[in-house]
């Protein structure tokens, strides 16, 4: 009986590997300052591809509002993890975006030209309507290691939930503040 279940396990198993991430906490203001662009948009497509040893999920975002930066009406964002070549990689601490879902994304484009989500889960706000019909932007807390960049000490993450307009206002205020 035991060997039978083992055989079925071998036959059915999907290559699946998981890794984890250490994050550094960034305040909303810091994220606004460090982001190369901040967009509100909807995921229109996603696909996976390997880059070196890692698989990345690529998301195509139809931009409906751009709160920082300039660019086209579509942006392609990469997140570590996904399935390619029959292998699934998963990284705790990295966000998964849903096709058709709407987000506010804090984005960062590095010298490689790839556009990442800043702070991974920290840089993703779901956009949904609350019971009263108001648009809400919300971000879950992460359990991954967060370090305060000023002190180098660990700090805790907090879930964030605020009206979309309020988020927009805070970002505009942060961007308008003189650089420190």
């Amino acid at each position: 009986m035991r060997s039978a279940s083992l055989i079925s396990f071998i036959a059915l198993v999907v290559p699946w590997v998981a890794s984890t991430t250490t994050l550094e906490r960034l305040s909303l203001e810091e994220m606004a300052a460090k982001a190369t662009s901040i967009v509100r948009g909807r995921v229109t497509a996603s696909w996976c591809a390997a880059r070196g040893p890692l698989i990345y999920t690529h998301y195509r975002i139809q931009v409906t509002e751009r709160w920082k930066g300039t660019g086209a009406s579509e942006v392609e964002v990469v997140v570590p993890g996904g399935t390619a070549g029959g292998v699934r990689q998963s990284f705790a601490g990295t966000p998964r975006l849903g096709e058709g879902a709407e987000y506010v994304l804090f984005l960062w484009t590095g010298s490689s030209g790839l556009t990442h989500i800043l702070g991974f889960t920290q840089g993703v706000f779901d956009v949904k309507r609350d019971a009263g019909g108001a648009l809400i932007a919300a971000r879950a807390a992460t359990s991954e290691t967060l370090l305060d960049p000023a002190s180098g000490r660990p700090v805790t993450d907090e879930p964030l939930r605020l009206k979309l307009d309020d988020l927009n206002r805070r970002i505009r205020t942060a961007l308008a503040a003189p650089a420190r």
Binding site: F9, P15, E24, T121, T156
Partner: protein, 841 residues
């Protein structure tokens, strides 16, 4: 009041211990079925498939782009090597990581390895790590597992904000390397806990939980017999088993070891040192159960199996009051069963993830360390919770209580911390007779209980402090570093970046050390690490003193052989200029498919190494890296793997004693060498040692037995085989002195009773040939193996007869019983023939 709960429990021998390793620790787990009985199948490296049973780690040739002041690539490499060393020296684990050199990510390879990469990570992301490719499920001696084929540790390319000499960099690197080896997060203040509750320092980077976790994946032979287990089940009061509940066994004065429950609520905590333990169960912190937390176990289809609902944490046998918690006795080689919990479901948990800080000086230290010999005004820590505020309105949250598990200290005061009332200030009183070590905090609020293992570390002195570091020349003309400061004692270790320095002398406030080799002009950050886990960074933060090396010419290295056919092994001589090769020198070829089997350092500019190319290696050009201390030499395209040569006799450098099968051979012995492409035609095979023919005893297609000349000098010798006119490449083989011989055994504990030996008996062996006459033998180098159980010698001292030594050891628990139990003595690789003794319970 303590409850002797262990009397109600049952124990069973760990006869099939290895068949169920990794039963519940937080590994990356697969279950063959969604129904019980549940057997967790972990992901891990298959050591049996790796050269020398060691996991290679390769460092990307593209290092960091930006570094902080006083940081360097040499410093970064030294911290990576130090981290690998930490994981390679875990007591109870046979895991060894081996330096593989700089590599190009484009280099194809077939050998599993860990890759250290420096990549473009967005702001807010410091590091990533874990397995990224694996093979199908397989079985080994330790049961089924999923072989990891490739793991990565990804560090930032921009290290400006995280210098390699900072605690944060090193502990994050070590943590991610733990993921790469197969460990997940735990909730027991270990290295593998998230940094919120991680209670480790550079001085003591691993806790018992980390040690158990890695030892369960890669157990040393006697790990199961030296440790015990606790098992049981966790149910909701409504009857169903609770999946992924964290069950923790915590020693009052030591660290905690934990396991997660299976989907049916059953669990087993393995790897516990014998002793008394409190046991408690708690739900994983809510963020760990979210989409970004712990990777859930998966079923045969790869579908995650969810965790159970939140519940009220409880001590065994069902109390939130630590005063009423019972202790469980753990015995080596035994499972204490029936440690069960019935827990009350709750809507949500809020009390979790508490971080503690203390102030030995002006720097906040995490986890909290309190010096009981320091001023009582510093006998406090600060606490802040991830889940809820611990203070309210400038005062402790009403209803919140904090206590300590076990004795020796007590909470004397709770108040909001004046400078920042969001932090809870917890004051303590200490029993002056109680010892030092970790203490465990228990927080309760309403019906919630939260235990923070090692939330407080009691020490009896201040951290070390380095005031100045200066370079001087000693009487022999050698460069030394002179350190002045406080709490620099004989048991303080000094690190130059990530490399330990050799301590030459210690006097009041002054320490003289020999700096490790480094490039000319290198600026090394100097750190002192105390024996209690405190470091000079506790007082100095990142502002460590710097030692600047004298200018020096760069090193250069050349190889006697620069190409090897796939599947072949050969001895390569490495000659250096401006090098200082020593016993810690490592070399790597930047490809897991090229492995270094053994190295002999023949002098500061000369080494001999056996290098092997994997049989299925692709023909490639690869690099060479040689590292000694902080000095490294790297040369791209220095070495080539060629296509396999089907006619070449292939030989393995691992000789075996043909009579005993042991891996140590000596002058006069018959030695067996294994390989392939050996002709079995009479007279068609010849063997030479240092180019001198030796008598061949027998030949098969895969093995040659030959005699080592009685006058052969000990040490490395070059061996070659000629078969059908074709010469093999030379390999270096080690010729040892003859093995030790046990001539007598005296059981002092049995006296003249003539009874069989019993566990605990003090036994003295008389051994001939243990070492050269008049040599001093360190007890740590001598092992006594009884019935397969390894014992450390307690003392080794010479007898009056030259060349004869006495070896004293205590017969351990876990040895098998019987009339003829084999006993051997070993030193280095030399093992005696067995001596048989009767053992009774």
């Amino acid at each position: 009041m303590k409850i002797a709960a262990s009397r109600t429990l049952t124990s069973s021998a760990l006869a099939l211990w290895l068949a169920a390793t990794a039963s519940g620790y937080y590994h990356f787990v697969h279950y063959p079925s969604r129904s019980g009985p549940f057997v967790a199948i972990p992901e891990k490296f298959d050591l049996s498939a790796l050269p020398n049973r060691a996991v290679p780690y390769l460092i990307s040739e593209r290092g960091p782009d930006h570094l902080a002041p006083n940081d360097s690539l040499a410093g970064v490499i030294s911290q990576i090597r130090l981290a690998a060393n930490v994981w390679s020296q875990v007591p109870g684990s046979e895991l060894r990581l081996v330096f593989g050199g700089f590599f190009s990510p484009d280099t194809p390879r077939s050998t599993p390895a860990i890759e250290i990469l420096f990549d473009e990570l967005p702001p807010g992301v410091l590091a990533m790590g874990g397995p990224v490719a694996r093979a199908e499920i397989t079985s080994g001696n330790g049961g089924s597992f999923v072989p990891i084929q490739r793991s990565v540790v990804i560090l930032r390319r921009d290290l400006t904000d995280r210098p390699s000499y900072s605690d944060g960099f090193f502990l994050t690197l070590l943590h991610e390397m733990g993921h790469a080896l197969g460990l997940q997060h735990t909730a027991t203040s270990s290295l593998m806990s998230t940094d919120v509750t991680r209670a480790v320092t550079r001085g003591r980077p691993l806790t018992a939980d980390d040690i158990a976790g890695i030892s369960l994946l890669y157990p040393a032979r006697d790990f199961g017999s030296r440790t015990g287990s606790i098992s049981g089940q966790v149910w909701m009061t409504t009857g169903e088993g609770v999946a992924m509940a964290s069950v923790v066994a915590v020693n009052p004065g030591g660290h905690a070891v934990s396991a997660l429950t299976h989907p049916d609520g059953t669990y087993r905590i393995d790897g516990l040192s014998p002793g008394q333990y409190y046991v408690y169960v708690h739900p994983l912190p809510p963020p760990e159960l979210g989409p970004y937390g712990t990777i859930l176990p998966v079923d045969a289809a790869g579908t995650p199996i969810p965790a159970g609902d939140p519940f009220d944490a409880l001590f065994f046998p069902g109390t939130r009051n630590p005063q009423f918690a019972g202790t469980i006795t753990v015995t080596a080689g035994q499972v204490t069963e029936g440690v069960n919990f019935r827990v009350q479901r709750r809507a949500a948990s809020y009390l979790y993830g508490v971080t503690t800080y203390s102030f030995p000086g002006n720097v906040a230290v995490k986890p909290a360390f309190i010096n009981v010999n320091g001023p009582s005004s510093r006998w406090f820590l600060l606490a802040v919770s991830q889940g809820m505020a611990l203070t309210s309105g400038g005062a402790p949250l009403p209803g919140l209580s904090v206590s300590l598990l076990g004795g020796g200290a007590a909470v004397s005061e709770l108040r909001a911390y004046g400078p920042d009332p969001r932090y809870l200030q917890v004051g303590f009183t200490f029993n002056p007779l109680a010892g030092t070590g970790p203490r465990h905090l228990v927080f309760t609020y309403n019906n919630e209980m939260y235990v923070l293992p090692a939330g407080l570390n009691v020490v009896n002195r201040q951290p070390p402090f380095i005031a100045t570091v200066s370079s001087q020349v000693d009487a022999s003309g050698n460069r030394v570093a002179v350190l002045t400061g406080t709490n620099l004692t004989a048991d303080t270790q000094i690190y130059f970046d990530g490399v330990p320095a050799t301590v030459r002398s210690v006097e009041e406030g002054t320490m003289v050390v020999v700096p490790p080799p480094a490039p000319g002009g290198h600026r090394a950050n100097v750190l002192a690490v105390g024996p209690d886990g405190q470091t000079s960074a506790f007082l100095q933060g990142r502002s460590l003193p710097v030692y600047e090396y004298e200018p020096a010419d760069p090193p250069a290295v050349s190889l006697s052989l620069s190409a090897l056919p796939a599947g072949a092994e050969a001895a390569i001589e490495i000659t250096g200029i401006n090098t200082s090769f020593n016993e810690n020198t490592q070399l790597g070829f930047g490809a897991g498919d090229v492995s270094v089997r053994r190295v002999w350092v023949l002098g500061p500019t000369r080494m001999l190494a056996n290098v092997a190319a994997a049989p299925n290696a692709s023909p490639i050009l690869t690099g060479l890296t040689v590292v000694t201390g902080l000095r490294y030499f790297t040369q791209p395209f220095a070495f080539q793997i060629e296509p396999a040569n089907p006619r070449l006799p292939l030989i393995s450098s691992q000789l075996r004693d043909a009579a005993t099968g042991l891996t140590s051979v000596y002058p006069g012995a018959l030695a067996a060498i294994s390989g392939s492409n050996f002709s079995t035609a009479p007279g068609s095979v010849a063997v030479t040692l240092n180019d001198q023919p030796v008598p061949v005893q027998s030949v098969t297609s895969s093995q040659i037995v030959f005699q080592i000349p009685p006058n052969q000098p000990t040490g490395p010798a070059l061996l070659r085989v000629q078969s059908s006119g074709e010469w093999s490449l030379p390999v270096a083989v080690q010729i040892d002195p003859a093995p030790p011989v046990i001539t007598m055994l005296v059981n002092a504990s049995a006296g003249n009773t003539g009874r069989a030996a019993r566990p605990g008996d003090l036994i003295t062996l008389t051994v001939r040939g243990l070492a050269e006459p008049d040599a001093t033998v360190a007890p740590g180098s001598v092992k006594v193996t009884v019935g397969g159980i390894e014992h450390q010698a307690l003392s080794v001292f010479p007898a009056t007869e030259p060349g004869v030594y006495y070896v004293v050891f205590a017969l351990g628990t876990g040895v098998p019983f019987g009339p003829q139990v084999p006993l051997t003595v070993s030193v280095d690789q030399r093992v005696s023939l067995p001596f048989y003794l009767p053992i009774q319970p």
